[in-house]
């Protein structure tokens, strides 16, 4: 057999050869062994994770001459023909070419006939989401009750587009993205069998670049082998992937932080020269900015072995949090709009220039520095305070950080005096989140050695150390950039509301919600006294709840004191009660109460009314009231009487919802 690309050569022929997807394999194997087979399966998952492969192996399992088995022999005529793609009773249809209802009708008529040589006639319909609505409808009956000798295997990368009527007739399996480790492991195996030498670090890079898809990984591996003239080395792979070496990004952002336009553009030009795709630069930049925000608010979340830890913190000390947020937005939008620019280089430059334009050193006090957003309600930015931006604040500190970043080429650990953290401990700010149960080194004055210590500063004014039930995330004091806490702005939150900071999807609009929430500590005049009205409290907290809104609205107050709240959440909302959401709620509560509040959440049904239910009931009452009002209105009555009008009750809506 002449050369075939790896992705093709290494397509698994047996269930046992599949990487990942154990959950699917197990379920199917059981079904096959017990002969409890559904007649229609839907396999979903991103590209290259095994949909078509599993479908074909299943076809073999069904038609293997040794019997219906989870382990097709691979030797019999049926297995061989299926492997070779010429088994008459296996029809692989790509929905995209056959979207029309006539095509589907033909296929379905075909299903009437018994299989010619197999036990089952298997239809694999790929990218099934491309079918037209009428084609889907035509399929419904047959999907529901196909002839006994027919099996349908539908596959799609986009299950959202498949109508629920079809979904409900299929047994759905979601194939998982593979982890970089799984991918790297498999690539190593492939290379060993292929007798090609490689460096594990190279495979790790490929594993990440594959973004969950084994086929992508194998295609990239092919490319790497070609690129490296037969050897797969880390350096080569890095160059091949155009993997943006993060060091250059640090340099870029450092120039940006200093509002040094010429340097920024010079560095950008360098990147362009190295042929790195602008799309990936902006993507990586967004990731880096996100990390900066983490460094600024939850420093302990930055792993100790994070390669550029020091540089990260150095940079974090040079850019105000809201600017980090702003640049993030600009980067995301800039990336989206790359295609609209006269050429990508221009688009990239303009993105950087925009960041420069809104740099505190440039922007005018009153100008609203809104990056264009899709929604009409433009993301409002905090008006950068007219005072010189914080790069000037804490002169020593920033200089040190600068020096660190400048010396990035050498990567020597910075053993210089640290980032000065002006005003940190001084503002005895109430600690929003549960401060460290670990003995925070008595914090006080922030002259801390080396930049890494930035994270260790726990500004802990005397506070009860309350152990939280789920101490997962330990927020330490907002580090040096706290200088800008004065500029906190509540407006930010409206935008950040519903995003859980741990979204796996690629960087979306807003930054971690609590990143900003940290800033906006409202120093209340009088300490808050809770009166037991959970619903009222939830309303008062409003948008500050952020991601924990669902939790709060669907919980019932079980017991309370001024420093401890017990909530009960019904089982159906258990997913809203995970640690992360609880932490978020605690944060919001702490703000409101002015001190930390212990939070205990249990999953149980108390039969009481949650704020959500209360709200719903309230709404119903209002609607009923409105309806009565309308029905008794003389004008309406006249319309009904004289003109035969009908009041459509279902369309009555509160004004606020229009």
């Amino acid at each position: 057999m002449s050369y075939q690309v790896l992705a093709r050569k290494w397509r698994p022929k047996r269930f046992a050869d599949l990487v990942g997807q154990e959950h699917v394999v197990r379920a199917l194997s059981n079904a096959l062994n017990e002969e409890r087979l559904h007649h229609a399966y839907l396999l979903t998952g991103t590209r290259g994770v095994g949909k078509t492969t599993i479908a074909r192996i299943l076809a073999k399992s069904l038609n293997c001459e040794t019997g219906t088995t989870a382990e097709p022999c691979g030797e019999c005529s049926a297995c061989r023909q299926i492997d070779a793609g010429r088994f008459v009773d296996l029809l692989e249809i790509d929905a995209a070419s056959n979207t029309g209802i006539d095509n589907i009708r033909e296929v379905l008529e075909n299903a009437q006939y018994a299989p010619t040589s197999g036990r089952f006639k298997v239809y694999i319909i790929d990218e099934v989401h491309m079918l037209s609505k009428s084609a889907f409808n035509a399929m419904l009956k047959t999907l529901e009750e196909p002839p006994a000798h027919v099996k349908f295997i539908l596959a799609t990368t986009d299950p959202q587009k498949v109508p629920v009527t079809v979904l409900s007739r299929c047994l759905q399996f979601s194939l998982r993205n593979m982890t970089p480790q799984q991918v790297a492991g498999h690539l190593a195996h492939v290379l060993e069998v292929e007798q090609q030498s490689f460096e594990p670090a190279a495979l790790a890079l490929l594993g990440r670049a594959a973004a969950g898809s084994m086929r992508d990984a194998l295609s990239l591996l092919d490319q790497a082998i070609a690129y490296g003239m037969g050897e797969v080395r880390e350096e080569g792979v890095r160059a091949m992937l155009g993997a943006v070496d993060r060091r250059y990004l640090f340099v870029l952002l450092d120039a940006l932080a200093a509002a040094d336009g010429p340097r920024l553009m010079a560095e950008a030009e360098q990147l362009a020269q190295r042929g790195i795709g602008f799309d990936s630069v902006l993507a990586e930049m967004a990731v880096l900015l996100q990390q900066l925000a983490m460094a600024q608010t939850v420093p302990a979340a930055i792993a100790d072995d994070e390669p550029e830890r020091e540089a990260l913190f150095a940079l974090a000390s040079l850019i105000a949090p809201q600017d980090v947020q702003l640049y993030y937005q600009i980067a995301i939008h800039g990336r989206k709009d790359l295609a609209l620019a006269p050429d990508e280089h221009a688009g990239f430059n303009m993105t950087l220039l925009r960041m420069l334009a809104f740099h505190p050193a440039h922007a005018q006090p009153d100008s609203v520095a809104a990056p264009r957003s899709n929604t009409a309600a433009a993301a409002t930015r905090p008006a950068p305070v007219a005072m010189p931006a914080q790069p000037d604040a804490g002169v020593d500190g920033s200089a040190a950080a600068r020096a660190l970043l400048a010396g990035l080429g050498n990567r020597k650990p910075a053993s210089r005096p640290a980032a000065q953290e002006p005003g940190t401990a001084a503002d005895a700010e109430p600690e929003p989140a549960a401060p460290a149960p670990l003995a925070a080194p008595a914090p006080a004055q922030p002259v801390t050695p080396a930049v890494s210590a930035v994270s260790a500063v726990a500004v802990a004014p005397a506070e009860p150390v309350v152990t939280a039930p789920a101490p997962a995330v330990i927020a330490q004091a907002a580090p040096s950039v706290a200088a800008d806490d004065d500029e906190r702005d509540d407006e930010d939150e409206t935008e950040l509301d519903n995003t859980a900071p741990w979204d796996e999807t690629e960087a979306e609009e807003a930054m971690p919600a609590y990143a900003m929430a940290e800033e906006s500590t409202a120093v209340d005049a009088a300490p808050y006294q809770f009166d037991g009205d959970w619903g009222g409290l939830v309303t008062q907290l409003g948008t500050r709840l952020g991601a924990s809104r669902m939790l709060a609205h669907n919980a019932v107050l079980k017991g309370w004191s001024q420093s401890r709240l017990e909530l009960a959440v019904p089982d159906s909302f258990r997913h809203m009660a995970t640690r992360d959401y609880q932490e978020k709620l605690k944060t919001a509560l702490a703000e409101q109460f002015g001190h930390t509040v212990e939070l205990v959440v249990t999953i149980e049904e108390l039969g009481l009314e949650t704020p959500a239910m209360q709200g719903a009931r309230h709404r119903q009452e209002q609607l009923a009231q409105a309806r009565i009002c309308l029905e008794n209105d003389p004008v309406i009555q006249q319309l009904v009487r004289d003109m035969g009008a009908t009041l459509i009750a279902e369309t009555i809506q509160p004004v606020q919802e229009l």
Binding site: Y3, V5, E92, S97, M130, M350, H362, A363, A369
Partner: protein
């Protein structure tokens, strides 16, 4: 034919001939000769008397047919306007052409028959971003598992705009862009007048359609932008409208101008209009970067509709109003 800056890429590619993929995806910036490279490769694979370095001979039947566009084992998938589909001449229009599913079906049929010349069968898809979704999906199966001796060559400027399912099935091959010196050299050899300015305007990409008429219009437009007054704005809009230019063209001109304005104002760089440095300097003195960004926003909003039959004049006037505001003295009205 290979461009001077592609010679190394050619060597690199030749090293992969022992391991031909089912599909290659050639990526690189616009206007740097990706299609030509792909075609050169296709020709070399169909040439019946290959020379050293896998270069096509140019004389054999295969080469002759290829150069005439009549090689029976070669197919090209490129966007067609409706006119072309009916067999008429392509008219430059305001509609964006796509590659449609019917063309893909024909190529699939073609791929399933054995070769005419007992060699390879090559399909070039360019630009791959212009496959409409149905066409792209229809291509997936055969792209992944083509018959023996069938090779797909995809050309794309922005790989991230392709369906991930398509990207996944290709071996990516980035092509080099020319250095500024190479690009300039080449342009001069082609006898393009005012090569430096033209090259700068095209962002360093030397393969652009040199249209002297359009270049003149552009010049006028830029001159107008250099004198931002109410009157000149109206003139510009009228100029564009009279020439029936699709909105995309002045948007592109303005976009590049804004880039240089912002670049000079904030970072001291000029990329597209080096010959207008003096004018730009003057403008920069009066320019408010934030207002500039707002104008840029407005431009981005319009960009997707570049080929739409909107009232170009109105749109442009509104946009140019925003342009004026950049110089309104730092404060919006």
């Amino acid at each position: 034919m290979l461009f001077p800056w592609q010679l190394q890429d050619w060597q690199r590619l030749n090293a992969e001939r022992a391991r031909l993929p089912n599909a290659w995806l050639f990526i690189g910036p616009a206007g740097t000769g990706k299609l030509e490279f792909a075609l050169h490769l296709a020709q070399s694979l169909l040439c019946e008397q290959l020379q050293a370095d896998y270069q096509p001979c140019g004389h054999c039947k295969g080469c002759r047919w290829f150069e005439h566009g009549t090689h029976p084992d070669f197919r090209r998938l490129s966007p067609q306007t409706d006119d072309e589909e009916e067999g008429k001449e392509a008219k430059p229009g305001r509609k964006l052409p796509l590659i449609k599913i019917e063309a893909v079906r024909q190529v699939i049929e073609f791929a399933h028959l054995t070769a005419h010349r007992a060699g390879q069968r090559i399909v070039v898809v360019e630009p791959a971003e212009n496959l409409n979704p149905a066409a792209a999906n229809a291509l997936l199966k055969i792209l992944e598992e083509p018959p023996q001796d069938v090779l797909f060559l995809l050309v794309a400027q922005a790989a991230q705009r392709l369906l991930p399912t398509i990207r996944s099935r290709c071996r990516q091959f980035p092509l080099s862009a020319p250095s500024p010196a190479q690009a300039l050299d080449w342009l001069r050899q082609q006898g393009v007048s005012n090569a430096e300015a033209e090259l700068a305007h095209n962002g360093g990409a030397p393969l652009f359609d040199h249209d002297p008429v359009l270049a003149k219009l552009r010049s006028q437009f830029i001159d107008g932008l250099g004198q931002p007054t109410f009157a000149s704005i109206l003139n510009l809009a009228e100029l564009v409208d009279k020439q029936k230019l699709p909105l995309a063209i002045p948007l592109g001109w303005l976009g590049k101008w804004l880039h240089d304005l912002a670049g000079l104002s904030l970072a001291g760089i000029v990329r597209y209009h080096p010959e207008q440095q003096a004018v730009l300097q003057q403008l920069v003195l009066r320019c408010d970067p934030v207002a500039l960004m707002r104008c840029q926003d407005a431009l981005q909003q319009l960009a997707p509709f570049g080929q739409h039959t909107l009232n170009t004049r109105l749109q442009l006037e509104a946009l140019l109003m925003d342009y004026l505001k950049i110089f309104a003295g730092g404060r919006q009205g």
